[in-house]
């Protein structure tokens, strides 16, 4: 069966520091991968999605970036965090239909 992992589970970072969140999927090949951010009361915001290695589409222009160095690995990064980057970050995978979500990373920027 397929599983999706995210780490770290929680992270507290100062403003201006770099960020790297990792997501890996097991048990499937060539999935579509997604990064979402969930801020309080604002639902889910799609940040990036990828249909293959090295293929990244950005939905929201901001100081975040994403990379997909391997088929089942998706990384969310920032060179300098802003206070507004705080939130709950969710990774998801799909094969074209329903999406399956990871457990999330709670990021607090102080």
């Amino acid at each position: 069966s397929q599983t999706i992992h995210q780490w770290p589970a929680t992270l507290v970072q100062p403003v201006g520091s770099p960020l790297s969140l990792e997501c890996t999927v097991e048990g499937t090949s060539n999935p579509n991968l997604y990064w979402y951010r969930q801020a309080a009361g604002r639902g889910l915001q799609l940040l990036f999605y990828s249909v293959g290695i090295g293929q990244i589409s950005s939905e929201v222009p901001q100081n975040l970036s994403a990379s997909r160095p391997q088929d089942r690995q998706f990384i969310l990064s920032s060179k300098k965090l802003l206070l507004s980057d705080s939130g709950f970050y969710l990774c998801a995978w799909s094969l074209g239909g329903e999406q399956y979500f990871g457990p999330g990373t709670r990021l607090t920027v102080t």
Binding site: R42, G43, L44, Y49, A92, G97, E98, Y100, F101, P103
Partner: protein, 112 residues
């Protein structure tokens, strides 16, 4: 732009009562429809999905949803709510091969 509306931000029901959470979507091509549930601090779990066929779909945890094309709706129902159902519920819609569009969620509180 295509959109998904969950008109109720917060609903409170008593344990054992019936539940209906509303979801409406803007007109577009034949949609794929989903309901997800999220417990505090957790990821989203798929409750049920509709792609085609019978418009009443059964999901996990005793939930069901009915697709009504004429009303552009996909409401989630449960005949008898349990305290463990307290969570936030998200409706999501996919038009063709486009990305999922999520509603803003409905938070469910269950009173004992």
């Amino acid at each position: 732009a295509q959109s998904v509306t969950q008109p109720d931000i917060h609903i409170t029901v008593s344990e054992g009562a019936s539940l209906e959470l509303r979801c409406n979507y803007s007109y577009g091509a034949t949609p794929y429809l989903f309901w997800y549930v999220q417990s505090p601090g957790q990821g989203l779990q798929l409750l049920l999905k509709y792609f085609s066929g019978d418009t009443l779909v059964q999901g996990i945890k005793g939930f069901e949803a009915e697709f009504k094309r004429s009303q552009s709706s996909f409401n989630l129902r449960k005949p008898s709510v349990h305290w463990s159902d307290a969570a936030e519920y998200f409706c999501a819609v996919q038009w063709g091969s486009e990305k999922l569009v999520f509603g803003k969620g409905t938070k469910l509180t269950v009173n004992p």
